[in-house]
C-alpha cells in the first residue's frame, strides 16, 4: 500500500495552488493512496534500456517551424475581454510587492 499522509496531501495541494477543506484532505489522502497503490505495478516493469517518450510524434517526421514573422494576434480589447478584472486593456492583479 502506497500511503499518503494528510501532510503530504496538504503539501501537494499547496504546490497545485488548491485550497482544500479538511474533509477533502482526508478523502484525497485515502483515494490517492488507493490509486497510487494500483499504479505501483508499473515499478515491476524493466525499463532499463527503454527511452521515455513525451509524444508519439517522431521529431524528424514533422517540420513544425514557420517563418519568423508576427502572426495575426488578438487586439488588446479582445485579449482582456474575458478577464474578471481589467483596466485600460490590461489584466488587473493584486500587488505582488510590499511597500
Amino acid at each position: 500500500m502506497h500511503k499518503l499522509s494528510l501532510d503530504e496531501v496538504r503539501a501537494i495541494a499547496d504546490l497545485a495552488r488548491l485550497t482544500l477543506s479538511e474533509d477533502e484532505v482526508a478523502r484525497y489522502a485515502a483515494q490517492l493512496s488507493q490509486i497510487l497503490s494500483y499504479f505501483q505495478a508499473l515499478q515491476a516493469v524493466d525499463t532499463s534500456d527503454v527511452p521515455p517518450i513525451a509524444s508519439v510524434l517522431l521529431a524528424a517526421t514533422e517540420d513544425a517551424l514557420r517563418a519568423d514573422g508576427a502572426p495575426v494576434a488578438l487586439s488588446p480589447a479582445e485579449a482582456v475581454a474575458n478577464a474578471p478584472q481589467a483596466e485600460n486593456n490590461q489584466f488587473k492583479v493584486s500587488a505582488v510587492l510590499d511597500e
Binding site: 499518503l4 496531501v9 501537494i12 495541494a13 504546490l15 497545485a16 495552488r17 488548491l18 485550497t19 482544500l20 477533502e24 484525497y28 483515494q31 490517492l32 488507493q34 490509486i35 497510487l36 494500483y38 499504479f39 505495478a41 508499473l42 515499478q43 516493469v45 525499463t47 527503454v50 527511452p51 521515455p52 517518450i53 513525451a54 509524444s55 508519439v56 510524434l57 514533422e62 517540420d63 513544425a64 514557420r66 488578438l74 479582445e78 485579449a79 482582456v80 475581454a81 474575458n82 478577464a83 474578471p84 478584472q85 489584466f91 492583479v93 493584486s94 505582488v96
Partner: protein
C-alpha cells in the same frame, strides 16, 4: 399555380420526427435536391431539443438564434448555386471546443461565462463547410471522466435508458446524437472519451490518430493524448465529418502534414483480404458476457466477408491504465495551471495573489478535476518524478512498440470498447479507481497515438447498446472506416432507435 392551402399538411409531429431521424448523409442528399430546406431541418432539431432535452440534458447551451440565422444563410447560399460538404446540416459541439461568441465552459464552474474570441480549428472547418451549429454539449468537467457525472453543472442521461449514464467524457455528444437532437457532433478523446459514449449510446464514433485533427482551440487536458473527432449515427456520416476536420493546421505544431485520403472512397473498399487481429489481453476476465459474445460475433462476420482473423499479443496492455492516468494527470496539472482567476473565468479575491489563486481554484474546480491535478502534481514533484512520470513515459514506449509489432501482422485490431455496457448513475462515482477501469480498453490507443473507432454491434439483455472497437495504425482512419462500413452494411444495429424518441 398550386394553391398551397389545398395541400393537406401532414401531422406536424410525424413530419418533424422524420426529419430528425435522417442520417447526416440522407439529410445532405435531401438538402441538395431541395426536398428539404436547412431552415426546416434546423427547426425540426430545435423542436426535438425542446421536447427531449429537459429529460436527457445533453446541451449546456442551445444557440437557437445563431442556428436559425446560419440555416437561412445556408438556404440562401444553396439558392445561389453554392455547395459545401455540410451546407445546412445541424450539428452540435462538445463544450471543450472554443466557439467564437458562444459561451464555452468545459462544463466547469471555473469557466462559467467564458466567451472565446476565436474558434477552434475543427469548429472553424465545420463552419466553413456549411454547418449549422445547434449548441454546446455537456461533458465531464475538463473531459475528466467516463460517465458525464463529473459535469460542473448537471448530469446527462442515456437516451436508451434514462437511469443509465451516457458514458464520458463526451456524454452530451453521445446522448444528443442518439436522441436525434443533432445529426452529428464533435467529441474529444483523451483516453476513450469519444469511443466510450459512442459505445454506450449506439453511435459510430471515431478517435483520429494523434496529429490527424488540429487541437487548436480544443481546451487542453492531456496535450500528448487529446484528439477531436466525429460522433454520428452511421459510419458514412463519421467519414463525412472527418473529411472536413482532418488535415494540417499551421496553428497546431503537432498536427500532421500527411495527406488526407478520400474517406468515402476508401470506406467502400470492402474487407476482402483485410487482416484482423484479436488482442489476447483485451478478452480477459471481467468482460460482460453479452459484450464478449457480440464482439466475437462481429469478428466472425468480418471473417465471413473475407477478412482473415488471428490472435495478436499486446503484452504491456495490463500497464496501460496506470501509464495513462499518470501521464494524463501530469499533463493536466500543468495545463490547468492557467485557471488562476486572472485572464478568464472565476476569480475569488482573497488577500494576496497566491491566496487568490488557491481560493479561485479551490472554489472553481470540481472533485475529480482536483483529484487529477493532485495526482499529476504528485507524479511531477521533486523526488517522485523519476519513479512515476519518468517510469510511465518509458512504459508508454513499450506500449507503443506493442502496437507497432501488432500492426506488422494485421491491418486492424478488434475488441470491446469497454468491459461492460452503460452503468447506472452513482454505480462507480464513489470509487474513482473503479470509474477509471471503464477506460481500460480505450486508453492504450491514445498512448500509442493510433486511431480507433466504436461501431454498434448489438445490445445486452437489458437493451443497452454494445460497441465494437476497431483500432488501426497512425493515419489509417481509412482502414477503420473500411472495416466499420462493411460491418455496418450487414446490420441494422445502428438504425435502432431509443424508445424515448420512438
Amino acid at each position: 399555380m398550386t394553391d398551397y392551402k389545398t395541400i393537406p399538411t401532414p401531422r406536424k409531429e410525424a413530419c418533424m420526427s422524420a426529419l430528425t431521424d435522417l442520417s447526416l448523409t440522407e439529410a445532405l442528399a435531401k438538402l441538395e435536391s431541395r426536398e428539404v430546406s436547412s431552415l426546416e431541418l434546423t427547426q425540426a432539431h430545435l423542436q426535438q431539443i425542446e421536447r427531449y432535452d429537459p429529460q436527457v440534458q445533453a446541451y449546456l447551451t442551445v444557440s437557437a438564434d445563431l442556428a436559425l440565422e446560419q440555416a437561412r444563410a445556408a438556404d440562401a447560399a444553396r439558392a445561389r448555386g453554392e455547395s459545401a460538404p455540410l451546407l445546412g446540416a445541424p450539428l452540435a459541439i462538445k463544450d471543450v471546443l472554443s466557439t467564437k461568441g458562444i459561451e464555452t465552459t468545459c462544463a466547469s464552474k471555473i469557466l462559467k461565462g467564458y466567451v472565446p474570441v476565436f474558434n477552434a480549428t475543427a469548429v472553424q472547418r465545420l463552419l466553413d463547410a456549411g454547418m449549422v451549429m445547434l449548441g454546446k454539449l455537456n461533458m465531464d468537467e475538463f473531459a475528466m471522466g467516463s460517465s458525464t457525472e463529473n459535469s460542473g453543472f448537471f448530469l446527462t442521461r442515456n437516451p436508451w435508458n434514462l437511469d443509465y449514464v451516457p458514458g464520458g467524457s463526451s456524454g452530451g455528444s453521445g446522448a444528443a446524437v442518439a436522441a436525434r437532437m443533432a445529426l452529428g457532433a464533435l467529441g474529444s478523446d483523451t483516453g476513450g472519451s469519444i469511443r466510450l459514449p459512442g459505445s454506450f449510446c449506439n453511435l459510430a464514433a471515431l478517435k483520429p490518430s494523434y496529429g490527424r485533427v488540429s487541437r487548436y482551440g480544443l481546451i487542453a487536458y492531456g496535450s500528448s493524448l487529446d484528439q477531436t473527432g466525429p460522433m454520428t449515427r452511421t459510419v458514412e456520416d463519421c467519414a463525412r465529418i472527418l473529411q472536413v476536420i482532418a488535415g494540417h493546421d499551421p496553428l497546431d505544431s503537432t498536427s500532421s502534414k500527411a495527406p488526407v485520403p478520400n474517406y468515402l472512397d476508401a470506406m467502400r473498399q470492402g474487407v476482402q483480404g483485410l487482416r484482423v487481429g484479436l488482442p489476447k489481453q483485451y478478452f480477459g476476465e471481467g468482460l460482460q458476457r453479452e459484450v464478449r459474445e457480440a464482439v466475437m460475433q462481429a469478428v466472425e462476420e468480418l471473417e465471413a466477408m473475407g477478412a482473415s482473423v488471428q490472435d495478436v499479443d499486446l503484452p504491456y496492455s495490463d500497464y496501460a491504465l496506470a501509464v495513462y492516468y499518470i501521464i494524463a494527470t501530469s499533463e493536466a496539472s500543468a495545463n490547468l495551471a492557467r485557471y488562476d482567476g486572472i485572464r478568464f473565468g472565476l476569480r475569488v479575491e482573497k488577500g494576496d495573489m497566491i491566496a487568490t489563486y488557491k481560493a479561485t481554484r479551490g472554489a472553481g474546480f470540481g472533485d475529480e478535476v482536483k483529484r487529477r491535478i493532485m495526482l499529476g502534481t504528485y507524479a511531477l514533484s521533486a523526488g517522485y518524478y523519476d519513479a512515476w512520470y519518468g517510469k510511465a513515459q518509458a512504459v508508454r514506449t513499450l506500449i507503443k512498440r506493442d502496437f507497432e509489432r501488432a500492426f506488422e501482422q494485421v491491418d486492424v485490431l478488434a475488441a470491446a470498447v469497454s468491459p461492460t455496457t452503460a452503468f447506472k448513475f452513482g454505480e462507480n462515482s464513489a470509487d474513482p479507481l473503479q470509474m477509471y477501469l471503464a477506460d481500460i480498453l480505450t486508453v492504450p490507443a491514445n498512448l500509442a497515438g493510433v486511431c480507433g473507432m466504436s461501431v454498434p454491434c448489438g445490445f445486452d439483455d437489458a437493451g443497452l447498446p454494445i460497441g465494437l472497437q476497431l483500432l488501426a495504425p497512425p493515419m489509417r482512419e481509412d482502414t477503420l472506416l473500411r472495416a466499420a462500413y462493411a460491418y455496418e452494411q450487414a446490420h441494422d444495429w445502428h438504425a435502432r432507435k431509443p424508445a424515448l424518441v420512438s
